[in-house]
């Protein structure tokens, strides 16, 4: 019974620790502080040097858990990366994610060698550990401040951060291997690198395709799609790593492929991976926190800060300016991209690899990475909004994006349900704007579900669910953004005349000389509105009938009762005349010049 008690105790303590970790996210969210750091601190507090006093020095377990966690995190990272955004900024991001990481590593190394008194390989390892920007930190901090960056800048930063982990991981693993093997000849190293990259990429690509194929061909139980994908990711990782290929690269690529293909249960897979990633991050960082001895940090904080400063002020800017040189970015944009070189979880994880494999003086890497990440998140993280404003990078108005809910519709993949809360000043509510491919299907009001017909007109505070193709769901966001109302109503929307909604198209056509299809002559305007809009009409909806604009001036029960007629733009001909007049004047002047 003794061992059983130990097991129960470990479960209790472990679960409690996780629970505290989950709850601590509440605090972190409030202050915009990086969650991973909070988890790490929690682990430290619970550890033997902290008040928790838990003795944990099972490096093997930590390495196993850490690897599984990172594999899942990387897969999730790939899964969430949209290849479409990739294409527009592929060049700059890929350069930053590869050459940029190498340049950063190379420039940090001499400083690290000097202040930490290391050999070249060890110094390069320090550089590699802090070489990549952190996707989670960049995404979170860019979005948490509601910054609307110029799409090019935002996408470059996000994609760089999402794609540079493999490069840094690669460098780190390589340098660790070199350090472990002692003196290897460079041709052996080169062959190792090439094999890892090529084989890893190949396995990832094939495995990604295979996961998609299995997912769509085999009718799994509804709840098993997501676990299938997650475990599949671990299989990819394990397979690649055991074949001496880069497991991290493979798993990232596989995630990229699965995430960008239409699959069954796409959204539930996303939700599951999201949850798994959270759990993986908490477990990983609490464990790492347990491994760290905080009091030793004090002795290395000075040199570590110098490394952090060199990274932020020299290595990162040089790498960014070098990599962005072939592309058209303004100086301000280059400075901003340099400044937003946020370091985060990956740096700390990479620093734990030497620790986990038992390199001499491995704690040094961890300490440096810890200080660098802390410095980066505190100084850069909290100044990001100011920097964007000072450098005039962000758009003047920062509209927080609306919360979008996406639901799979089993049985097909072409459509999904996309849900929004209807805001008072959303373009959808104000002007009835909606793309033609989105079909309102449900309205939830006061905890009751209606069809759009039953709900009549959608109001502020309703939740609306629309059928839309999954790849276009994101484009719906801007129709539901809560924007400040315009200064004054658009005069073009005012009707010149008004007629009853019961008036037929034919009657209107006769008086105003319009062309109407014979089958439409008996159709009342209200029906015409209903058929063209295919949803309850709201006040100020507009339609065209030949040259005449129809405006839903008064609406009762989703049906137009009074229609405003916008007959014509009286200024059209004036504009044309003045243009012709101007051309004539120019012609006359040209003639005079020729003669004179």
């Amino acid at each position: 019974m003794q061992s059983l008690d130990t097991v129960s105790l470990v479960i209790l303590l472990g679960a409690m620790l996780l629970l505290v970790g989950i709850l601590s996210s509440l605090i972190a969210m409030r202050f915009g502080a990086p969650l991973l750091l909070v988890f790490l601190l929690l682990g430290m507090l619970a550890g033997e040097a902290g008040p928790g006093g838990i003795v944990f020095n099972d490096v093997q377990t930590a390495y196993l858990v850490g690897s599984i966690s990172l594999a899942l995190i990387l897969f999730d990272g790939g899964f969430r990366t949209r290849l479409q955004t990739f294409r527009t900024v592929l060049g700059p991001s890929v350069l930053l994610a590869t050459v940029g990481v190498v340049v950063t590593t190379a420039l940090v190394a001499p400083v690290a060698r000097f202040v930490l008194d290391l050999g070249w390989t060890e110094a390069l390892l320090v550089g590699a550990v802090v070489g990549s920007t952190d996707a989670a930190a960049v995404f979170f901090l860019l979005h948490a401040h509601g910054l609307r960056l110029r799409p090019r800048v935002g996408a470059t930063l996000e994609i760089e951060s999402a794609t540079n982990d493999p490069a840094a991981i690669f460098l780190t693993v390589l340098l660790v291997e070199i350090l472990l093997l002692g003196n290897q000849s460079w041709d052996v190293i080169a062959v190792t690198i090439a094999r890892q990259a090529i084989l890893g990429g190949l396995i990832g690509y094939v495995a990604g395709k295979a996961i998609v194929l299995f997912l769509n061909r085999i009718g799994l139980q509804q709840g098993l799609h997501a676990p299938f994908v997650a475990v599949g990711a671990l299989v990819v990782f394990g397979l690649a790593a055991s074949l001496q290929a880069s497991g991290f690269l493979a798993v990232y690529l596989a995630g990229l492929i699965v995430g960008n293909r239409p699959t069954r249960a796409h959204n539930s897979i996303g939700v599951f991976l999201d949850a798994t990633t959270w759990l993986a991050q908490i477990v990983m960082f609490v464990l790492l926190g347990l491994l760290v001895w905080p009091e030793r940090l004090v002795s290395s904080i000075g040199p570590a800060l110098i490394v952090a400063l060199a990274l932020t002020l020299i290595a990162r800017p040089v790498a960014v300016f070098l990599c962005l040189a072939p592309y058209r970015f303004s100086l301000r944009e280059r400075i901003f991209v340099s400044w937003v070189g946020l370091r985060g979880a990956v740096g700390i994880f990479l620093a734990s690899i030497p620790l986990l494999v038992g390199l001499p003086a491995a704690y040094l890497y961890f300490d440096v990475a810890f200080v660098v990440v802390l410095f980066s998140l505190l100084v850069q993280g909290w100044s990001i909004a100011v920097a964007a404003r000072k450098l005039d990078i962000a758009f003047p108005r920062a509209d927080p994006l609306p919360q979008r809910v996406e639901l799979d519709l089993p049985g097909q993949m072409a459509q999904e349900l996309v849900g929004y809360s209807v805001a008072a000043n959303s373009p959808y509510l104000r002007r009835g704007l909606l793309p033609s491919w989105a079909k309102p299907s449900l309205v939830v009001r006061d905890e009751r579900v209606f069809t759009p017909e039953e709900a009549e007109s959608v109001r502020q505070g309703d939740y609306i669910y629309l059928l839309a193709p999954p790849e276009k769901a994101q484009a719906l966001d801007r129709f539901f953004v809560d924007m400040p109302p315009p200064a004054r109503p658009d005069p073009r929307l005012l009707g010149d005349f008004f007629v009853s909604g019961d008036v037929t198209l034919g009657a209107l056509a006769e008086i105003y000389g319009l062309q109407v299809a014979p089958e439409h002559t008996e159709k009342p305007l209200a029906d015409y509105f209903a058929e063209e809009r295919r949803r309850p009409i709201k006040q100020d909806d507009t339609l065209l009938l030949g040259p005449i604009g129809l405006l839903a001036h008064r609406v009762e029960g989703g049906r137009v009762t009074t229609v405003g007629l916008r007959l014509a733009e009286p200024d059209d001909d004036v504009g044309a005349q003045s243009l012709i007049a101007r051309l004539k004047r120019m012609a006359r002047r040209a003639l005079a010049a020729l003669r004179g």
Partner: protein, 153 residues
């Protein structure tokens, strides 16, 4: 563009007397018939036909009855300021005291619509309406209608 290309000086009634919508329309039809040499009955019927779809009172005491008349050779406008405002089934419920009648030839098409829009937009301008109400005789009204929209606005 001023409205005087649509309204001749003799097509202005500075103080029309009418007790209701139908009577006003009838008076206007008679006057128009006189000026363009067409039967008043036909004009009256055309105006009523349009009113049946919805009142041409556009609000703020202004009505713009209109229609197409086959045998007309150009756009024809007639302006009347009412002695006493009358009920016109306006959307905003206000009685009407300024009426602009516009008749268009069958072939007018887009010109008809543009002219109507121009009339509606000029009269919607509060300043123009105020000046028209303050004008006592045909000449004064003609002068206001002759103002380009920019200075009238």
């Amino acid at each position: 563009m001023p409205l005087t290309d649509l309204v001749a000086r003799n097509a202005i009634i500075p103080a029309l007397k009418a007790n209701g919508k139908k009577q006003a329309l009838h008076e206007l039809a008679t006057k128009a018939a006189e000026l363009i040499g067409q039967p008043d009955r036909a004009i009256y019927e055309i105006l009523l036909q349009r009113e049946r779809l919805g009142s041409t009172a556009v609000g703020n005491g202004i009505a713009i009855p209109h229609g197409k008349l086959g045998k007309l050779d150009r756009l024809f406008g007639l302006f009347a300021r009412l002695d006493r405002s009358i009920e016109f089934d306006a959307l905003d419920g206000q009685p009407v005291d300024l009426i602009f009648l516009l008749l268009a030839p069958e072939s007018a098409g887009a010109d008809h619509l543009k002219a109507l829009a121009r009339v509606a937009r000029l009269l919607r301008d509060a300043d123009t309406a105020k000046k028209l109400r303050e004008s006592r005789d045909a000449d004064a009204i003609y002068a206001v209608l002759a103002l380009p929209p920019a200075s009238a606005a």
